[in-house]
Symmetry: C2
Subunit: 431 residues, 2 copies
């Protein structure tokens, strides 16, 4: 049964705290297995990659078969339904438009002393994009990860995707093609992550790896972190919906099930000031579940992690939403903007009844890779900045050094760092 | 002996590759010890914190003694040398000025369809700043970590600092006071990290933890990552200096030793097109080492990890610098700006002979917390953005949903996510 909490009940605080602390991640301990695979790829390169692909994907290839050719991509695109391709193009264009606005500006200024300061942003040299195979192969995720990298100006974006039993969703290749990715390898798992991080004879190494994957992929990403950069490790997805008594139960139920159908560990929570609406949504969910293709998964998620929270007023709703720090927050109230202004912690906010999260998942333009498991308290969704880095710049002439030098010498000496003090003092003829 | 490489030698490429791959991190395996401490603090709160403080810092306190009082801070400030305090104030003001320029802008726009999009930046609710005790207690680091958090608008910045045998560098408290931190606890190690992440009766939990620490602190930060955000795990520090034949050997030697004196694992590398300069710098280093307070540390760093690389021209120097991706890059050539324009990978660039890194360490204004161990290929120095997060915003009305909805339905169906499609379709009366 999904949990039902009432803000007026005497033990609400402790119940909500327990609900907040619910662990949803299935912690599979696969680190040692991932480590063995990574070490093997580091030691033996392509040979290890080919062997792991034979073992895990049941696919026989040699080094020359690792790369997916331009002809194969062309054939995949031709195999796709035109309406779906058009939808992907619309998504690509809108994601690009949104992310272009995230391109950061360099800064350079001269202060009152004449010191020149500033910073410069530059794209990461090479990025690897992991794309899962099989049922979790989502072309929309290819776009959400690749387009910001391309917009950032990353000169080399490499995609890896496993093809278990040789099978690959043609829409994944079509999305890569639409994003402008031309270097694609049919490898997956920890072995693909290792190849991207350390390089093999066939796959040149990258500087950063992004994209979702299973427990082995996540473990391998943690292991190679430091050697390369990685994005966040995504946890199970979640939505919080704040609605008042005018909320449409069927729409809300559909949105909650859209979250729940991702994964049995996904979480859907309604916060409302109307106990009646909570009842109606619960009934609508039960009803819609009967005709949902992925009913089993959605049902498990709703049963184990779903929540209906009734509050006395919408201010209480924003407080709880800030504590929940949801990946997705839908606001369906009379004045969603006023309520959104009080939200500090959320990956993305969907305003008003006509903005279901699914629009943002696909074609809104904003990124659907968002911080999960309450990490919106301290992190942001994927964006252009994740594919760039900032180099700070400092320039003094003799006069500026004379003005600032004595303070630097004083601090170097106070910290017991004599060579720091000397490096300034020598230039000032103090030493 | 420091390594000496010549770009013209036949085996330069393999020698440079080996040099690049040199491991400098001393990998102390302290994870299980850190895990036990973290678990104890989670289970027993203040009692565990007090017990660990007694054990590791040889300090007897009860819960009421955990917090450092305003009077203690005032007394510490009074105990500091005025010139050093003035230098710290100058540093604080300049760091603040620089970082204010990093405050990001929100964005909100309406596209051709009438869809409202954008994002909003907000400060992290609460940040914990770890400050090491003992000899590595650097007041400059307190400013470099605290000022960007305050500039970001973080409402609660908490500092923890161990006081082994009850001792504490008064300049650390003075720096905290100058930065505006009022909540300070005399705890350190993995226990302090655990208290910040999980909270105890005395210390309310934070959402993100930053700041340098020993191996136990680093291990604890990795363990609590996810529960809270953490900054990068800093490795040993490094400098690369590019100089032409007009470089001043004494100044370059002093800068290289300023890096080397931090840590036996630090690294100083000179890249020059002048073999004579390389010789002169090597001699100057040997000479300056004889009078350096921290000669033993600097000597070990220079001997084990130092490098002199002679190239044929400065273009080769930029290539190597991009591969080294140094935390600090000093450029002392006739036209440092032209050379800097070719640098993609560096934490910070110091332009010209009158900008020793020590200026940037203390009073330049830019941040001295920078990516180490080649991670400047994919990450940036500490800044205001590290204390903020971005929430994306999306708003459709009925018309916009009609325009975008069919594509979302198509993609939801193509990905086998029926509830996604339904959440849009219901609103369009398609289902």
């Amino acid at each position: 049964m999904p949990i039902r909490l009432d803000r007026r009940s005497a033990d609400f605080a402790s119940q909500f705290k327990a609900f907040l602390a619910t662990k949803r991640e299935a912690s599979q301990d696969v680190e040692s297995a991932a480590r063995a695979i990574v070490n093997d790829v580091v030691a033996r390169g392509d040979a290890a990659l080919i062997e792991a692909t034979r073992k895990f994907d049941r696919l026989e290839i040699d080094a020359s078969g690792l790369r997916i050719t331009a002809d194969e991509v062309k054939a995949a695109v031709a195999a796709c339904d035109t309406a779906t391709l058009d939808a992907l193009k619309l998504a690509r264009d809108r994601i690009e438009l949104f992310h272009r606005r995230q391109l950061p500006k360099d800064d350079r200024f001269t202060d009152a002393l004449g010191v020149e300061l500033g910073w410069r942003w530059s794209a990461v040299d090479a990025v690897g994009l992991y794309v899962p195979g099989g049922t979790a192969a989502y072309p929309s995720s290819v776009l959400m990860n690749a387009v910001p990298a391309i917009v950032a100006g990353v000169p080399r974006v490499v995609m890896v995707v496993p093809t278990p039993d040789g099978k690959l969703n043609p829409l994944v290749l079509a999305a890569a093609d639409l994003a402008g990715i031309t270097e694609i390898y049919r490898v997956g798992g920890a072995q693909a992550v290792a190849a991207l991080a350390y390089g093999t004879a066939t796959i040149a190494p990258v500087a950063k790896i992004v994209g979702p994957g299973n427990a082995y992929v996540a473990a391998a990403k943690r292991l190679v972190f430091g050697k390369v950069g990685i994005d966040m490790i995504a946890g199970p997805s979640e939505v919080v919906i704040i609605a008042d008594r005018n909320g449409h139960p069927d729409w809300i139920a559909a949105d909650m099930l859209a979250q729940a159908e991702h994964d049995a560990n996904a979480q859907s929570i309604l916060i409302t000031d109307s106990a009646e609406l909570a009842d109606e949504v619960e009934r609508a969910i039960a009803s819609q579940l009967t005709t949902l293709p992925r009913a089993e998964i959605a049902q498990a998620s709703w049963r184990d992690f779903g929540g209906l929270i009734v509050v006395e007023n919408l201010d209480q709703a924003t407080e709880l939403a800030n504590a929940l720090a949801a990946e997705h927050l839908e606001i369906m109230t009379a004045d969603p903007e006023a309520l959104a202004a009080k939200i500090r912690n959320a990956g993305a906010i969907f305003l008003g009844a006509h903005t279901p999260e699914a629009i943002g998942d696909y074609v809104g333009g904003s990124n659907h890779v968002l911080p999960t498991a309450r990490s919106a308290r301290f992190s942001s969704g994927l964006g252009v900045l994740d594919f760039m880095k900032r180099t700070s710049m400092l320039k003094c002439g003799p006069e500026q050094l004379r003005a600032l030098g004595p303070a630097a010498v004083a601090l170097g000496e106070a910290e017991g760092l004599g060579a720091h003090a000397r490096s300034v003092g020598l230039r000032l003829n103090l030493q």
